[in-house]
Symmetry: C2
Subunit: 487 residues, 2 copies
Amino acid sequence: LERHWRSRGAEVVAVQGLGFVGAAVAPAIAASRRADGSPRYLVLGLDLPSGPGPERIAAINRGSAPIGSSDPELDRLTAQAVLEAGNLAATHLEMALGLADYIVVDIPLDVADRTRTRPGQVEVDQAGMVAGIRTVGRNMKPEALVLVETTLPLGACREMIRPVLEEEFAARGLAGGPKLAYAAERVMPGPDYVESIRSFWRCYAGTDPASAEMAEEFLSSFIDTERFPLRRLGSPAAAEMGKLLENSYRAMNIAFIQEWTLLAERAGVNLFEVVEGIRQRRGTHDNMRLPGFGVGGYCLTKDGLLAQWAADRYYGGGLDMDLTLKALEVNYHMPLHTLELTRELAGGELAGKTITLCGVSYLPGVPDTRNSPSELFLDRLEGEGAKVLVCDPLVGRWQEKPGVRVHGQAKECIRRSDGVVLAVPHRQYLELTVAELAPRPGRQPFVVDAQNMVDDQKAEDLRRAGCRLAGVGKGHWRGRGYQWPAA
Amino acid sequence: LERHWRSRGAEVVAVQGLGFVGAAVAPAIAASRRADGSPRYLVLGLDLPSGPGPERIAAINRGSAPIGSSDPELDRLTAQAVLEAGNLAATHLEMALGLADYIVVDIPLDVADRTRTRPGQVEVDQAGMVAGIRTVGRNMKPEALVLVETTLPLGACREMIRPVLEEEFAARGLAGGPKLAYAAERVMPGPDYVESIRSFWRCYAGTDPASAEMAEEFLSSFIDTERFPLRRLGSPAAAEMGKLLENSYRAMNIAFIQEWTLLAERAGVNLFEVVEGIRQRRGTHDNMRLPGFGVGGYCLTKDGLLAQWAADRYYGGGLDMDLTLKALEVNYHMPLHTLELTRELAGGELAGKTITLCGVSYLPGVPDTRNSPSELFLDRLEGEGAKVLVCDPLVGRWQEKPGVRVHGQAKECIRRSDGVVLAVPHRQYLELTVAELAPRPGRQPFVVDAQNMVDDQKAEDLRRAGCRLAGVGKGHWRGRGYQWPAA
């Protein structure tokens, strides 16, 4: 295979790690074409021969994406590269690394426990990354470029990755280490999964100028750099930091709104209209976040922890990322506020109540359930003795909670429930009618709107249908005759 | 005067409080014209017969602005209204309130101590506001509108203002209270001081629909509502909250960057290039703040405290605005990081050193020194035994530190100093040359750049001139041969 493509002028790329990132990056790189229309690269996807690895490898080699996505482009590109062009294949054989001119590292790196949010407490599972990098060092061509895309604690290229590569090179009798560069992946869950690889700003840095040059050339070959120019930063630590800072900023701005949400509810204020007014200040305030149910996903929930870990481990300790960590703590606990509203509407006691939970993914329109806030919410709700009917139109099997039955249709569940919690603004839930949300007028059902899914008109109609109502950030519902328990 | 203008069809506006807001609002309202070009209003400015009141009143009646501003429009409009059109006058006589159809309240309301940033600790000086409102209630026409513009703790219209007005109405034998509305002032210090009144989004709310209607009509008569449409909110508390939330958001985003600044410096990262890279994400991340010296001004430093006070006082307590308060604490202490850098460059010991401080206003290009971070910085610097030469090209007299001599020219001060701290990015300081910043090459002067005022080229040139260098957020300077003390 390699000789076939080499003879046609293609270079070889290895993508190590075929999870949420690598599974999209591999076909996206395989789609790169030279001026004459021929594939620029042979792409070899690598994963482990254990765990989910074999299944992922088999899926790709069948021509289908190994991860669920709402982006049809992912399956299409994979099929196209594997079955038509024939320039994408997956394997667990590490010798594939020895063929590559570019090795893209998409091995996941996670914290041990997202709830440990104090300085000195954060633990990072380095084993998988270190083992993967060791494999790379053992097998790679000395002149190849290692491009790490995994979100890393800043300093990790220098402190975690490079030393391992150098060790392996030394063991092979090679001087120094390989060319090494960093450019954080930007894959966005959702309908533009694949396009987010081609069409997004990337910052990158090399451990030396030659590595940076080679990374720039490589990235330019599959990113639309006309519209999204690359930006070279002064050091890998700067590029690593960028990703952590960006996601921490978002997490911070979400957490910040939470305390104003609580205040707004007490003050009878509709926080949504207040934020809308403030967002008129374009450029400085238009990204203000809205009240909501919680924060999930792989990145926003952990990247700040990686920064604290780096501060602790690589930069001397004694530096507390107070606001960054506090934000993660607030975001993690956010669904407990919706739990409070639910408990209030249930009359102060959840035990024995049947409640429909609408939505378990962490984003609307997306089947991704990683670190979904619905998880903590469900645990606590059940912990207080409620019977919960869990629904999601997109999630067939809740990976993190395989024992929980997920209903595709909410209507029937609601009919059997004392109340419903609207947790994820999937289109299907926005379309639920008053009759569907309050199907048994005599029975005083209740609706908790955790994501601004019920507008004031619908709220009024629900109230008329005998429904009790609460909404996150919707303090004004308390004052307008909605049947709210005394504050 | 009143009869003259009434006979010409004008209505009467009283502006109560002629400080930073009222002094600009009064001439801005006086500039409003009817279709035939004649003044729409007679504007009567009111201030107290004590404190700075008489001076302000005299200034306006002479036709000049009672506050210093970098906006020439303020003096022009004042002169125009007082001396040409004759529809603006100032007085301390409260009977003027009895003539008004609209009473605009711009009485300042402040916290007792900006450093008390814990829940339950915040104290608001209500006396001035309550006394001013009492005067209004005692004198006003029953059918007039009271429009409060002062930034208030949310709930204050209902809990602080309205009860006083109702008391005074009751004492006068009038039933109920007057029409009352709230629309937070948006005056922005700087070259667009006056224009920021005409050209800015305003949210407003009335205590009842009639008050809201009247407020809308009035605000529309001097705001460019074509370009900046008014937005009516559901309650005065919502409008009050909007201002507090907006400023707290800004304060939060500034504070958030501070811990990343410290991390960047440790990690050898140029945080400015990192943030620039992140800001490419328009709409979500382009308002990310930059490392800096500190936060000053009247609003950003206190508005979050007003929210906490409201939570404590009006909404039951037990709600901690953790992130909001922490941000204020971080921002207040921010200049101490520049102090640390200064101390390091001074060899670990500030006693006996002569240091030039460039800038005491809280914004570039503006003479406003309210709560300037230079204040804490200077106190601590002197507290450690340094002799400080204080400079600012715009501030003749430092109002909050009247005992401090402020030099207009920095060059001569720098020549007599061991080092210079660039604290405010006034144009004059950006233009300082290498020779001016390091005038005595043999003496190893140092420069602390607290506001990204020295680019990498100039830094290199300064280093060549024998200068030691540190910059807030400029970790990369540590690694590039700049003479930094061992980290």
